[in-house]
Symmetry: C2
DNA sequence: TATTGTTATACTCTATAACTATA
DNA sequence: TATAGTTATAGAGTATAACAATA
């Protein structure tokens, strides 16, 4: 007869989470947490954080965008974007050019290296999306995105 | 004729966000960000953060749960739960009792004041959920939760 | 007078190492 | 030897105030 063993707390009966699991907020946070981990892991290969990817991807499709526009779009505060942009400039991924019509602003542009990195990173993210939504049909994935946008738009 | 004015960056043409908006990850984060703000705002009335609410709600439905179980359920690291539990103890919302079978562990229980606060807070959260998903039908809200759980469970 | 970009700084959140008491 | 709870601490992430240059 095997020796009786007290199960550790982590393996013991799980808690009743039915109330929390009935909340859109709780489920959204949990889903984001999981996707976020995988995202961080796969972007680390490129030396990019999640916000870095967002910035580079936005610049790829909006050349010459200003820091202020990036902040408004991504809900980042201006002081917190400064070092991020500076770092990507140092890495040679982006270039800061004088804004054509506003002497206060700086237009941000991807360099050739930046464009190459975004192309690769966007492919990785596309694969990541497929993996993260592997349990969803194509139609369900579209529905999920549509419903999430109804919440925040 | 009105004077011409250069539109500020924040009011000028919005950036093209179509790539980001096609990603489950991006939309989940944005939705969580919006819900999170409203949640924080309304829970401030009770002096509760989001994680505080989760802990109290779990204890309401799982009396005697241990710190370890809360950590495993909510994805919190043990050292980060210590001060949180201590603060709720000081406020008289929870009580720490010796665990009936494990001398290392501490069973956490709501006090009468804690139970009263959870009741009120859960009602506020229920209303918050209705507001946050105001643009969703009852059926869509259920679908959203089901799809989110397919992503993280 | 308002806005862009910036510096400095503070506050919160999250993460790691190491200790103690008990299993 | 492993686990529960704890301490101390480090690192991200996020927030506000204030400044120079330009609108």
């Amino acid at each position: 007869m095997p020796t009786a063993r007290t199960p550790s707390s982590s393996e013991s009966a799980a808690l009743d989470t039915r109330v929390l699991e009935s909340l859109v907020g709780y489920n959204t946070r949990r889903a984001w947490s999981v996707i976020s981990s995988v995202f961080a892991e796969r972007m680390a290969v490129y030396g990019l954080k999640q916000v870095d990817f967002s910035v580079l991807s936005l610049l790829a499709h909006n050349p010459g965008a200003t820091s202020r526009q990036l902040c408004a779009t991504l809900d980042i505060l201006p002081p917190n974007l400064v070092s991020l942009v500076a770092a990507m400039d140092s890495r040679g991924l982006i270039e800061r050019r004088p804004h054509p019509t506003d002497g206060r602003a700086v237009g941000l542009h991807l360099t050739a290296a930046g464009r190459k990195l975004v192309r690769e990173a966007e492919q990785t993210v596309t694969q990541l999306e497929l993996d993260a939504s592997a349990k969803l049909t194509v139609r369900e994935r579209e529905t999920l995105i549509k419903l999430l946008q109804k919440v925040y738009l």
